[in-house]
Symmetry: C2
């Protein structure tokens, strides 16, 4: 019944930003637990960040505490570095690949089409876990949001989109979702094309994207789902840029840790249902 | 088919705040146009406001420009003033009664059970239009939100509610809705009791509540509808205070000016459908 969101055996973990990095590490612990048996090395990619020197040591400390055999801090700044053979080799030997937050456009601009990104895709296919927070989460799908009006983004053209890293299809991911009131961003995207599921990640919340198309919410925050597939009508195609978009019938869910969502069936899974499905797929 | 939201012949107009008061007055013009033929006097009630001396002259100027025969600026500060016979008389002769923004708890605390509020209800029943912006809109229903967490209000107890002015039933109204990212507030209310329709008013947007249960969006902004009646599940009853609330299946609409919603039938009305229904009811 379910189709693969990505044709891989590894897991993706998208995190909404501001995950705990110093206390009980709830989300990072779940990321690390998904590492394949053959590698407990972690590669942290700070390309999105404007302050890599502040961010990288935090993750290095956190993953070391969690039991990483090595943590590779990769501050890939430009396309030349993204083509570097040593960087590619470190990715190839890592079981956990982690994208920090920052600016998702920097991430795609530097990594798009690079040997490093190819190595990451190959590792995901091979069973590694690829995780990202904030910009690192938003950039995961084939298409991403990289900018949008802060207040009312439900106006034609208020959301800027471009190609993402292409690690998952069928979804659009937004981060800091509740904290920055970003519901209207995913509503505009859903009106523009109702096929793709909107996933709004709250801070200190994340979603494990299982290979067989099941989402699993983790962390103390919320994961909001905006499902536009049954959109009944919208005026978006008739509007001039900047005009307010009308939307009839989107479906809204709020998942908490342990709840899930079947992307293909468009079905919410309470804790018991999620456990049963994950056990069956195992 | 539709039931009266309030057993009256007048109109209610709920406005999301920050409506234009100095330029083309789009929303205030529509409020004034609903005045009954027998009175073009306007009573502006600034009880909610902490700065009545700044707010009242703006509305006085705006309604005068629109053709009001008189504008009564009523700065009702306490329960004694709310019982004042002169105030009641001015309400009784007004065709338009307008609540400014401010703090909705001040509004209910001062006006609740007062002769002034009784006179307002009676005028609404008799055909007057009662309008309110921001706090003045939020306070209209039988139950209102008066406080809520700014970021993630989808946590048990994060929204504070109490009795409102009781001018309309079956709805809960929130204002500044898109601009302050308040989706989670109406989601928490919907999880606590799915019966009542959530109406989230954007700034410079409003909704005309027609007596026969039809909502009509007006103004350049958005009116968001959160319909929880088909809520499939929520953990809210099992949680401790402050824990994150899960929500399965709420329905989301975004109305723009000229679109409507049939509250009883829970049906979105595009412009043609709304016009046809309003013509039929007339």
């Amino acid at each position: 019944m379910t189709y693969p969101l990505h044709s891989v055996s590894g897991h993706l973990v998208a995190i909404g930003g501001a995950e705990d990095r110093t206390s009980d590490l709830a989300i990072l612990k779940q990321v690390f637990a998904l590492a394949p048996a053959d590698s407990h090395e972690v590669a942290v990619i700070a390309t999105a960040s404007g302050i890599p020197d502040e961010v990288l040591p935090d993750y290095e400390a956190a993953f070391s505490r969690l039991g990483a055999s090595r943590v590779h801090s990769l501050d890939i700044r430009d396309r030349q570095e993204a083509a570097d053979a040593d960087t590619v080799r470190l990715i190839e030997q890592s079981g956990v690949i982690f994208f920090t937050g920052g600016d998702q456009l920097r991430l795609t601009n530097v990594l798009g089409g690079s040997p490093t990104l190819k190595a990451i895709r190959s590792r995901l296919k091979g069973g590694a876990v690829v995780a990202g927070t904030s910009a690192g989460a938003a950039a995961m799908p084939g298409t991403m949001i990289y900018n949008g009006a802060a207040a009312d983004a439900l106006r034609k053209g208020a959301v800027n989109m471009t190609f993402g890293l292409g690690l998952v299809e069928g979804l659009i991911i937004d981060s800091h979702f509740l904290e920055r009131g970003r519901f209207t961003r995913l509503m505009e995207v859903g009106a523009s094309n109702p096929e793709h599921l909107g996933v709004g990640l709250g801070e200190d919340a994340g979603v494990i994207i299982h290979p067989h198309g099941i989402l699993e919410a983790i962390g103390p925050g919320h994961v909001i789902i905006i499902d536009s597939r049954d959109l009944a009508s919208s005026n978006i195609a008739e509007l001039a840029m900047g005009e307010p978009v009308a939307v009839e019938n989107m479906i809204l869910h709020a998942m908490v840790s342990g709840h899930g969502f079947d992307v293909e069936a468009r079905r919410y899974l309470v804790a018991d249902e999620l456990s049963a499905i994950l056990a069956e797929k195992r």
